[in-house]
Subunit: 167 residues, 2 copies
DNA sequence: GATAATCTTGACTAATTTGCTTGGGAATGT
DNA sequence: ACATTCCCAAGCAAATTAGTCAAGATTATC
């Protein structure tokens, strides 16, 4: 299990795709512009996402990408591990006899923790994230109806204390 | 929130420290040998762990490191973020007005998810990990009493399906 | 059929991070 | 004094990230 900005890009792009569901295929150029990610980098990421069937592609004019399954059937953990290559070489890599029991002990502990994190992320679907945001958007509109407030810090609305996945 | 092998090294080292609690200060040389991590790299990691008071140090002969608090008061999330520098520059970094509402929307979604993961990891203490492993060790001993079985794959005992932190 | 839009692929590169080395200190128990 | 340990900073090779560039393949539309 690895968690870097690469995974964030992938999740962000997938969310962008989810948010524009129903508008037909979305081009990578659109996502690139909206999310500020380079087009070619997106191409690389989507190549992997496609191999894992997380997205479906349509070529030619009017083409683009769409979600491979429903947003409630695609989980954050899948997206991250799809792009992350996951070369988690734990020094003794399954051998479990690297030197003494002690060493393997901590190795097992880590791989176990890693599995826990992965399991957790695999409970959170793209739909969960969208639902959560939808609530916030409404709250935001209610607090600042029809106003442009450039310098305002909205982070007070984004406290992150709620339980997202109900795990 | 970032999760790489660097964080794994830190957690592994902290676990090593926990497991040898009560034996006085533990030298980095010991940890380096037991865990197969370079001494100088450990020094760098522990420098950061010390700044966050996650470990306490004693200099001179007989010196070394010990946990800064009880193993039940140190959480995996703390350890990881202590060594990770966490330069999570989300392009608009709190500005929330990068281009249009749409862009910030997905940014918020990600930072929210990041908080969720962090919160999850901050529920798992070093003690939790040790307790879990203690159970396994016992199980292992019961299955293979007093035997050296070099080629045996123990991974069947390590299924990772149990709920570790009870989160 | 020509054309343009779009995905698809591969090679290459710059910047950053990781993991580690080297080389010096500073503190302290014996 | 001396050996042991923590401390610290500079530097460096390998890997990864993030991105560019260039060439295709597919297909809707004119």
């Amino acid at each position: 299990m690895k968690l870097t900005t690469k995974g964030r890009y992938a999740v962000t792009a997938m969310l962008d795709l989810s948010l524009h569901y129903g508008e037909g295929p979305i081009t990578l150029a659109d996502i690139a512009q909206r999310q500020g990610i380079s087009l070619s980098y997106l191409e690389q990421l989507f190549s992997r996402l496609r191999k894992k069937s997380l997205v479906a592609s349509v070529r030619g004019p009017g083409g683009g990408y769409s979600l491979g399954r429903g947003a409630d059937e695609i989980f954050v953990g899948e997206v991250i591990s799809a792009v992350d290559e996951n070369i988690d070489t734990t020094r003794c890599n399954g051998a479990h006899n690297c030197q003494n029991n002690e060493r393997c002990l901590t190795h097992d502990l880590w791989s176990d923790l890693s599995n826990q994190i992965y399991g957790y992320l695999n409970k959170i679907s793209l739909q969960d994230l969208m639902d959560r945001q939808a609530v916030r958007e409404v709250a935001d509109r209610q607090d600042h109806p029809n106003q442009e407030q450039p310098g305002l810090d909205v982070s007070s609305l984004v406290d992150g204390s709620g339980d997202l996945a109900g795990a």
